[in-house]
């Protein structure tokens, strides 16, 4: 008996393991409630999050972002970078097909990459700025660069390099690429990703159906995706989107306000998913010597910026605004970004140090600062009230100015602000995008702050052509140290992507870059 028991146990466990591996059920549909609709899900023209976060559902890239953030094979089963870093060779898988059954060949790859890097077309062409030529010889793809570009591998896994069908696209009606894209997408486009788009009623609903020719295998050894259909409903109002989910009319609802996370997590029918993200909430500080109106800007002094950061209790903000779902920033970029360096939370709450820094800056008498926030945003309103109270003991008189989104953008671009709220999520699985945006003066005056640090700029330029990964890592470490010390931002917090999902749905993922991934989702009921 003593011997049989372990054997029985082992057998049972083995059986359990096998059943769990094959427990995935195929077929069925899931309904997903979105906060906003897509317009054109073209890899090249997608310019808003509701567009670009859907591209991967329809178009597969040569390489893919793995679940742990590493780059894994996609349509290309292997890739190699030459020693000088100027040639990338990729081997396309054999037998690849588009959703209409036509072969996916090197010609389609050349067509798609040439289209993606055409600056006259979409807003993302700059990501492929280093590419000189793309050529195909059978299944062998060669991407030649003008100069080494360490980001190129990540770009080949980014939505804008999704592979489109050359023949079907060129057959679409229209004289220009824009017209062709519109005709191609409104007709229900031929795709290379896990799904095809069956219908789309602008502003209301969209329907994805399984692409039977998708290349990736599921856990049961048959091609993905598991679901037959994904239906999308556009429900812009947060409260209504949640009601729809609670009423059981949809299987998932995205962008759950953090204030509702606790309540939905307690609902026995729902799972409250907090997907790790690259999203950061921060506030650019105007670092110019003079304000827009010509008056002297106290925030130009690094000590004042540091003082405000020390005077900000991030943990309280995280509690008040994100209901404890967020975490403090440890660097200019989120901890989920490649080459992130940040051993600890930036500027832990220290009002004494803040006071000392302000007196060193000669501002112990206090001064006035204006915080520009988004009108109608409950988060921003909370943020303002909390900051006003935290900073008042230092003599900082915080005023608020509420504006709408484009107005805030305009103020940022023209330098007409003291401090304003902002958010960011990476689109590329590489730190260069966020670092260039937040810190590199020549790109956007360091997110509009006017912060112009020579050492940082030089490091950034060097890192963009650095072929040695170890050296690039060092450059990034140094850049993040400089940025943290110089504090051109009020560092606030990182937040997850909050999606509430019915317990009958498994495997849906929103990636750290925001993409909605339904390829491995399945219905458990």
């Amino acid at each position: 008996m003593k011997r049989i028991l372990p054997i029985l146990l082992g057998a049972t466990l083995g059986l359990l393991a096998t059943t769990s591996a094959f427990a995935i059920e195929r077929g069925g549909a899931m309904t997903f409630a979105r906060y906003d609709d897509s317009t054109v899900i073209d890899p090249v023209y997608a310019d808003r999050n509701p567009d670009l976060w859907m591209v991967n559902g329809l178009y597969e890239t040569l390489l893919r972002n793995g679940p742990d953030g590493s780059i894994v094979p996609g349509l290309a089963e292997a890739h190699e970078v030459s020693a000088d870093g100027k040639t990338i060779t990729l081997a396309l898988r054999g037998g690849l097909k588009f959703s209409d059954g036509s072969d996916l060949t090197g010609a389609d790859v050349v067509f798609s990459l040439d289209r993606a890097r055409n600056a006259d077309l979409g807003p993302w062409a700059g990501l492929l700025g280093a590419v000189d030529k793309v050529a195909a010889d059978g299944n062998r793809i060669t991407v030649s660069l003008k100069n080494p570009d360490p980001t190129i591998i990540s770009i080949l896994a980014t939505f804008n390099t999704g592979i489109m069908p050359k023949a079907a696209f060129e057959k679409a009606a229209g004289a220009t690429d824009q017209e062709k894209a519109r005709a191609f997408f409104s007709a229900g486009p031929v795709t290379s990703g896990p799904f095809v788009m069956k219908s789309h009623v602008q502003g209301s609903s969209m329907s994805f159906e399984r692409n039977p020719n998708y290349w990736r295998q599921g856990e049961d050894g048959k091609p993905l995706p598991y679901l037959d259909r994904v239906e999308f409903l556009v429900i812009p109002d947060d409260a209504t989107r949640i009601l729809k989910l609670q009423a059981g009319e949809v299987d998932a609802a995205e962008f759950i306000p953090f204030a509702r996370v606790g309540e939905l997590g307690a609902d026995p029918n729902l799972k409250m998913e907090l997907f790790p993200s690259t999203r950061i909430v921060y506030a650019p500080i105007n670092t110019r010597e003079a304000k827009k109106d010509g008056s002297k800007n106290p925030l130009a002094d690094i000590k004042v910026r540091q003082a405000l950061n020390y005077a900000t209790d991030k943990n309280v903000l995280i509690k008040l605004v994100t209901f404890d779902t967020g975490k403090p920033m440890t660097s200019l970029m989120s901890a989920a970004t490649q080459l992130h360096y940040g051993p600890e939370a930036l500027y832990p709450y220290d009002p004494e140090k803040a006071k000392q820094l302000l007196s060193e800056a000669g501002l112990s008498g206090g001064f006035e600062v204006k915080l520009t926030t988004l009108a109608g945003s409950a988060d921003d309103a909370t943020l303002f009230t909390a900051l006003q109270q935290m900073w008042a003991p230092l003599g900082v008189n915080l005023k608020v100015e509420q504006v709408d989104n484009p107005t805030r953008g305009e103020k940022n671009r023209s330098g007409d602000f003291d401090i304003h709220t902002y958010g960011w999520a990476n689109d590329v699985n590489d730190p260069a995008q966020v670092t260039g945006w937040l810190g590199y003066y020549k790109q956007r005056q360091a997110v509009g702050t006017g912060w112009n640090n020579q050492e940082f700029n030089t490091l950034f330029e060097a890192s963009n052509v650095e072929t040695d990964p170890a050296k690039r890592k060092d450059e990034y470490k140094r850049m993040q140290e400089i940025y943290a010390a110089e504090a051109p931002l009020l560092f606030l917090f990182e937040t997850p992507f909050a999606v509430a999902v019915s317990k009958s749905i498994e495997g849906y993922v929103q990636t750290p870059l925001g993409a909605n991934d339904f390829s491995e989702a399945w219905r458990a009921d």
Binding site: L233, I235, T407
Partner: protein, 313 residues
């Protein structure tokens, strides 16, 4: 019925109205801080890319040139391309307009059927508990914001009792009657409260008028007094009010369509403003101007039918 020349004169009055609307909206949207390029590339474009986008959209042209292009295109029925939706404005509006018109008409019908009979009841029992009860209930409707009424209806009748779907709209006429009842109701409550107050007051006034007393003294049946004398006179101001409430109704749909996830022109207008989508904002404003003008015209026609005195002026 009003004469043909009256109708023609009213129609001609619409032309300067439209011209003014076009000038105003053209200038107003450009006075807003931020522009479509900034809204479009919200964060991620460089300044050089923004200039390129502005150039592609023709926003780097001088204002008078842009206005001429706008007027010329509008006269030929071309409202331009929506920047946000990357599709012709006319096409976008035409696909969304029927839903909003359906919702507005539905709301008006509900409002009239709610307010009409109750106004009669209240007016015939002035200052009794019935009258007070009716007025208090509608006072609540008047003082609650539309989105709040909408959310209340959604939470109770849709999410909890499951009598109606939570938002969205149907594909057929009947399905829409069912789908849109809650949004129509939340818009109607406000309008019906206004109608009720006005109709009740005019009814009380008219019921007390000399000609009604005289009609009673003549021995006319209460029914004839009601239809021929009371109703006809009490309705004149109510019809005006109903016509004017089209503005309320339109702003009501703006909010209601967002809360109830209805893809109509109201929600589209909000999205267009946040995207600084100049062509779409202009197209929608013109559409609203046409709608309002048509409603005002209809109001005038109905009024001059109800009250012959108005035809002379």
């Amino acid at each position: 019925m009003p004469s043909l020349s009256y109708l023609v004169a009213r129609l001609l009055q619409i032309i300067p109205t439209f011209l003014l609307v076009m000038i105003f909206i053209f200038l107003l949207v450009r006075l807003l801080p931020g522009d479509p390029a900034i809204a479009m590339a919200e964060a991620k474009a460089t300044d050089a890319q923004l200039e390129q986008i502005r150039h592609n959209l023709g926003l780097d042209q001088p204002l008078p040139m842009q206005f001429l292009v706008f007027v010329k295109n509008t006269l030929t029925g071309d409202l331009g391309r929506s920047i946000m939706l990357k599709a012709p404005v006319t096409e976008v509006i035409l696909s969304r307009l029927p839903t909003t018109i359906f919702l507005a008409l539905y709301a008006i019908v509900l409002a009239v059927f709610l307010a009409g009979p109750l106004a009669f009841l209240a007016a015939s029992r002035v200052n009794t508990p019935v009258d007070v009860a009716i007025r208090s209930v509608f006072q609540v409707g008047l003082s609650m914001p539309v989105f709040y009424i909408g959310l209340l209806l959604l939470t109770v009748l849709a999410a909890q009792l499951r009598w109606f779907p939570v938002g969205g709209y149907g594909k057929t006429f009947l399905a829409n009657l069912y789908h849109l009842i809650l949004p129509a109701l939340s818009v109607a409550l406000y309008t019906s409260a206004i109608i009720l107050r006005n109709l009740r007051a005019s009814l009380i006034e008219v019921l007390d008028a000399d000609y009604v007393q005289f009609a009673r003294a003549k021995g006319l049946s209460p029914r004839i007094i009601m239809t021929r004398h009371v109703l006809r006179n009490a309705l004149v101001s109510t019809v005006t009010l109903l016509g004017l409430s089209i503005g309320n109704l339109m702003s009501g749909t703006l909010v209601t369509e967002t809360v109830f996830a209805i893809p109509g022109v109201g929600r589209l207008m909000l999205e267009a403003i946040f995207a600084r989508d100049y062509p779409l904002i202009q197209g929608l404003t013109l559409t609203f101007a046409v709608l309002v003008s048509v409603v005002f015209l209809l109001t005038d026609v109905v009024q001059s039918w109800l009250d012959p005195r108005l035809r002379q002026s």
